[in-house]
Symmetry: C2
Subunit: 444 residues, 2 copies
């Protein structure tokens, strides 16, 4: 009888918990779900006899030790900064651990000790990072198995809203995951390789350097580059490749509009603004524009950033209420915090909103001196604002990995990401049966 401990029961843990509730019943396992909010943890266990929800505070060392000691596997859905705290207890008590977060440098240092103790720390096993690794490595391994050479790899993922003709939201976007991460996305330098040349895009140009991607059946999306594509050279074993580029998908027009906030400096998270308690939405925008006793905020903004006064971008800002004289409703904050707060007023999911995940890879390779190209595509749509596509695609890979690990089908120790066949094959195969599937198509 195995004991599973899930830490964190927020939105992205819904599908993870649902899946494991069933598996616990089938296999006579026990599931404990801890969250800062006990009610949330209890609600998500839905009265199953095999499961218990309880109040959990990662900062309380005694509770942390007790819970982890009695578990066989810990799945941490806590904010990424807490993973090393969990990992250190896991090392102490010889307990394996899984996360959907990027491996931190600190996590990497645990590899040797985890190996010595025969436990597995599986990271980056959600959507992005997660399904992106697994689905990409599957095709890369196929190309290599055939003795061919990968020449170019591009990969894009987006967490979006499903199309809804009834909805007047001109952004066709809402917060479907951590709003703060959406607001700060893209800060820092972007690096990639194109046709053998190292390329760099600074934040101030990121949302203007987009690529158009067509997804059959779903139309066009625009992609902007993710931070450091170069680190995937080693993760995927792609040193010497001509092109490597990873990016984020948005619906057409989004990036040009988001760039307004970037150019204004409204996504800056490095300083506190003055007089926030008295600030209106309109004041917020005006604080980034030059002073003029008579010109309107709207015209100043349109002129400053070369926007059409009544164009699509200005309409998005208007729809979001940025020109209103409503109080922001915070006592203090950085520009990024204030921007997030204003956006949340219109960008929070309604109960019947359905989110949508789009993932797209492009592989170019040489075979018998000829260029070939494979596209790999996944589209997942949520049921409603609770059972989101985000929750399924983040939680189910973890849940499946947990099942296979506890059943003894994953005999690996140390710190890992799911790029090895023995990890990704069973996960991708079972995801397919759950309707989450990448379709590969040879286009050349």
């Amino acid at each position: 009888m195995a004991n599973i401990l899930i830490l964190g029961a927020g939105r992205s843990a819904t599908s993870l918990i649902s899946y494991l509730l069933k598996e616990c019943e089938n296999n006579n396992w026990k599931l404990r779900v801890g969250d800062y909010d006990a009610d949330l943890a209890v609600a998500k266990t839905r009265g199953h006899a095999c499961a218990e929800g309880f109040a959990f505070d990662i900062q309380k060392s005694l509770q942390r030790e007790e819970e982890i000691e009695k578990a066989d596997l810990v799945i941490s859905m806590l904010p990424a900064k807490f993973h090393p705290v969990v990992a250190r207890e896991c090392l102490k008590y010889g307990v394996s651990m899984m996360t959907a977060s990027y491996i931190s440098d600190e996590m990497r240092t645990f590899d040797e000790e985890a190996k010595r103790k025969g436990i597995l720390f599986l990271n980056e096993c959600g959507l992005d990072p997660g399904i992106d690794h697994m689905s990409a490595m599957k095709v890369i391994d196929q190309i290599r198995d055939s003795g061919n050479e990968l020449r170019a790899f591009e990969s894009f993922t987006g967490g979006l809203l499903a199309e809804d003709p009834e909805d007047d939201n001109p952004w066709q976007y809402k917060f479907t995951w951590n709003p703060r991460n959406v607001v700060l996305a893209g800060q820092g330098i972007v690096k990639f390789i194109q046709e053998g040349m190292y390329k760099y895009i600074p934040y101030q140009k990121l949302f203007r350097r987009i690529e158009m991607i067509h997804i059959p059946g779903y139309g066009y999306f625009e992609g902007y580059a993710n931070r450091d594509s170069l680190k995937y050279l080693d993760v995927y074993g792609l040193r010497g490749i001509d092109t490597i580029y990873r990016g984020t998908l948005r619906r057409p027009g989004f990036c040009r509009t988001w760039d307004i906030f970037v150019q204004l400096g409204a996504t800056d998270d490095t300083y506190e603004m003055e007089n926030v308690d008295k600030m209106t939405h309109r004041d917020f925008i005006n604080s980034f524009l030059s002073y003029n006793p008579t010109d309107s905020v709207e015209l100043k903004l349109a002129h400053y950033l070369n926007l059409e006064r009544d164009g699509a971008e200005m309409h998005c800002l208007q729809w979001s209420g940025f020109f209103e004289r409503d109080l922001v409703g915070l006592d203090s904050g950085t520009p990024a915090q204030i921007l997030e707060h204003i956006l949340k007023k219109k960008w929070s999911l309604h109960p019947d909103d359905r989110d949508m995940i789009v993932m797209w890879h492009k592989f170019e390779y040489m075979q018998d001196g000829m260029d070939h190209e494979i596209h790999s595509t996944m589209v997942a749509v949520g049921d409603d604002s609770e059972n989101t596509a985000m929750s399924k695609t983040v939680g189910l890979p973890l849940a499946i990995a947990a099942k296979h690990y506890l059943m003894g089908n994953m005999d690996i120790s140390g710190v890992h990401v799911p790029i090895r066949r023995e990890i990704y094959t069973p996960i991708l195969e079972e995801l397919k049966t759950l309707g989450i599937e990448l379709t590969e198509k040879k286009v050349k």
Copy 2:
């Protein structure tokens, strides 16, 4: 007989040392000049009997202690990060100290102990910070003395090149002070108050939000905003003022061209570029542009940043060699380091180049219900690349302060900047006799 110790004998110390050599002869004082480069220190003392130049390494604690212990006053021209190291020894041995650098938070913590020991730590006593404080406070104090209220204060300084019709340098600019600081200038957020409203400019817009300033006799200059004007509210006692704005002056057209580097990301100092050892000037620019197998770097750049293909901005880059296939000549580096290295090839002063300092303040105040306005202007031109206006305007305020302090005319202890009348009055008066003078003009 007083002993003066000058640490650092670089370009900005030339006028400081020359002035104090004379004063030491007049007053039978001793001057010791220490520099990492002993030859430089010896050369700058020019064989005067009262002075000695010697090799000095701030990292060597024994030498540091010995030298500071036997001094009555230390003038630190070292990089600002070393000032607290010097200050701690000064506290230990009860020695006063002067710098031309901004007060650091650490320096501020020494105030109480310096007061207890009756020693003076005078900071920000160069040009900017330095003469700007003194000349501004003089007018602000005059306005207050007359019982009037300052409504707006703007202040701009620029370290530039004197006009030279023989010179084909289209930038009309070279490095006349620390090149690294020029390349990184403006990074971080800019804050100021305009007509009672807090305003913020992010780096990516800074060089496009310029003001045109006319200096009678010298024509127009453009000014861009300095970092945090708000901190001057407390330094100058201006809480409640409608407008406060501090900026940097450049010749017209400079900012638009410099903005090319900002938009490209070429001033980024946060990451190391790849393959720097094989990189040409042209590669450097191209690494920030999108890939294309046939389009030229020139056309890609002009199109990306909406520049005229043969316009003034493109010409500046061409003159600086940015489109050449010359090797950069570094083994590694951040974009900012590489940019600085390329710029230095054409922006280093020739022996007969003359630099020019321009300072301009605007004061608006109410008197009897009427608006009044005073402009205060200084232009200083260097003799050659050794005796620069920068060296005079940075070094002479310090030198004069040192003389007055040692003569017993400056009876203050603790950590200070030169905003008190008893400090600024004698310095400004003597600077005037040396040809460094702010001319005040009531324009309204």
